[in-house]
């Protein structure tokens, strides 16, 4: 489109559901998710790309939702922390292994940063070969872009290893 606009209509698939909205072009994706679509699981910390709390998946790729304009995801698929759970093939939903692992390993305290960690790590784990044991370097890379000021990361890294082990067992079955 070559017309300069200050408001645009967008169509975006959010957590598998097609959504439409008319948004001011200066809205960040995080604004649209929270204020237009009511998905407040995406937390906004620094709002300039440093903290990683607002990370969502755009076409499956971890992306800072504060560093993308809402108009830029027109026609794309967005997955937020609310969309990480999966069908259990019996009509219900089960949490992603990393969500289970966060609970199991006590990988959160205040929880503010948690959605960003979950989306980033889930995408990273889903993209790797589950049969290969996860290395410390991989774990560092998975968590390195997100800030947590409570836990000291030890339990978050433990959760990464726990989830990777769960996914390895699931793949072996």
């Amino acid at each position: 489109m070559t017309e300069v606009r200050t408001e645009r209509s967008i169509s975006v698939v959010v957590n598998g559901v097609p959504r439409e909205a008319t948004v001011p072009v200066r809205w960040l994706l995080s604004d649209a998710l929270r204020h237009e679509f009511g998905l407040t699981g995406t937390h906004v910390g620094c709002e300039h790309g440093v903290c990683g709390s607002c990370t969502v998946l755009v076409d499956g790729q971890p992306t800072r939702s504060c560093l993308v304009l809402a108009v830029q995801v027109d026609g794309r698929e967005v997955t937020t922390v609310e969309g990480l759970s999966r069908s259990d093939h019996q009509g219900g939903q089960v949490l992603h292994p990393i969500q289970e692992a966060f609970r199991e390993c006590h990988a959160l305290q205040c929880g503010f940063c948690t959605p960003g960690f979950l989306t980033t790590i889930a995408a990273g784990l889903d993209a790797r070969d589950p049969s290969v044991e996860i290395t410390e370097e991989e774990v560092d890379e998975l968590v390195g872009g997100n800030l947590c000021r409570c836990t000291g990361y030890a339990n978050i890294k433990k959760a990464c290893r726990h989830a990777a082990a769960t996914m390895r067992d699931e793949a072996a079955r």
Binding site: M1, T2, E3, V4, R5, T6, R8, P24, V25, R26, L28, D31, E47, H48, G49, G52, T55, V58, Q61, P62, T63, R64, C66, L67, V68, L69, V71, Q72, T120, G124, D140, E141, G144, G145, N146
Partner: protein, 291 residues
């Protein structure tokens, strides 16, 4: 904070991009990956009147690796370049430097050419463009021109490109024969802005003696700096070359500023240390490629 109000347009061809940049005038700004631009908007350090989003222009997301070098289109994401074995085969610095660019989530969106056009002296790819003696292709309403890195970077966040113009690609010449590279940086947190970083190229002669040693630094000057350190090691056998002397030479050549993150003296120390360390790695690689 939120960006100040602006107009938005997403043209679908380079000609349309140039048309809208021309009609919107001085206040228009090109948006590619946005990983540097959007923080500037949110912090209100920049307030363009119009954002011209080039993400829907087809054909700009290509990496073409040939014998002479690697051409990286304006919409190639850092992650795409990092994953390209063809690019790494022709110019290994591309993968090595890109691995140091921020975090995976930023690399998925940020573009290599965008970070060059942003001209941040702490950027990895600006240093690699300089070290490889690369250039950029710029489209203006008058046509396309190639601008060498030395004429492109004028200062922090400032390039020689003004008026309606968009950078279409960056060209990184191939690594010469009998050469090796290395890249390293020191940051307070992995993926953060480097306090200091160095990329180096070492070239040997047929007798495995050092014939050239060059280094580029980030976060030490106002623009990417390339220094020729050959004098410190020229003619020395690669296995016993005095890389520490080359590091000391580099320490005397740079003139960094101090800031909150590091004093000028500390940056000079890092230059010496990173230079010696990376040259040793690059020398070893050059030796393997010469054997």
């Amino acid at each position: 904070m939120k960006p100040a109000p602006f107009g938005y347009v997403d043209p679908t061809s380079v000609d349309e991009v140039l048309d809208v940049l021309t009609s919107e005038g001085e206040g228009a700004k090109v948006l590619a990956g946005g990983q540097s631009l959007l923080p500037l908007l949110s912090m209100r350090l920049a307030a363009p009147t119009t954002l011209v989003d080039i993400n829907r222009v087809p054909g700009l997301d290509q990496i073409s690796a040939g014998r002479d070098g690697v051409r990286v289109g304006a919409l190639v994401r850092h992650a795409q370049l990092l994953a390209s074995s063809e690019a790494a085969d022709v110019q290994p610095l591309l993968g090595r430097a890109t691995a140091n660019v921020a975090h995976p989530a930023i690399r998925n969106r940020g573009t290599t050419v965008g970070s060059i056009a942003h001209a941040d002296p702490s950027g990895e790819m600006t240093a690699v463009l300089a070290l490889t003696d690369g250039s950029v292709t710029v489209a203006t309403p008058d046509g396309r021109e190639t601008i060498g890195w030395g004429d492109f970077f004028l200062g922090p966040l400032e390039t020689s490109v003004h008026g309606p113009a968009v950078v279409l690609d960056a060209f990184f010449p191939a690594l010469p024969e009998r050469s090796g590279t290395a890249f390293a940086e020191i940051a307070r947190r992995k993926g953060d802005y480097a306090v200091c970083g160095a990329g180096v190229v070492v070239t040997l002669d047929a007798d495995r003696r050092v014939s050239s040693a060059r280094a580029a630094y980030l976060s030490v000057g106002l623009v990417p700096e390339v220094h020729d350190l050959t004098d410190a090691v020229v003619g020395q056998p690669v296995d016993t070359a005095d890389w520490t002397a080359a590091g000391e030479l580099a320490r005397g050549l740079v003139d960094p500023d101090g800031d909150l993150h590091a004093s000028a003296d500390y940056r000079r120390l890092l230059v010496a240390t990173l230079t010696a360390r990376t040259l040793a790695d690059a020398g070893a690689e050059a030796a393997r490629r010469t054997a």
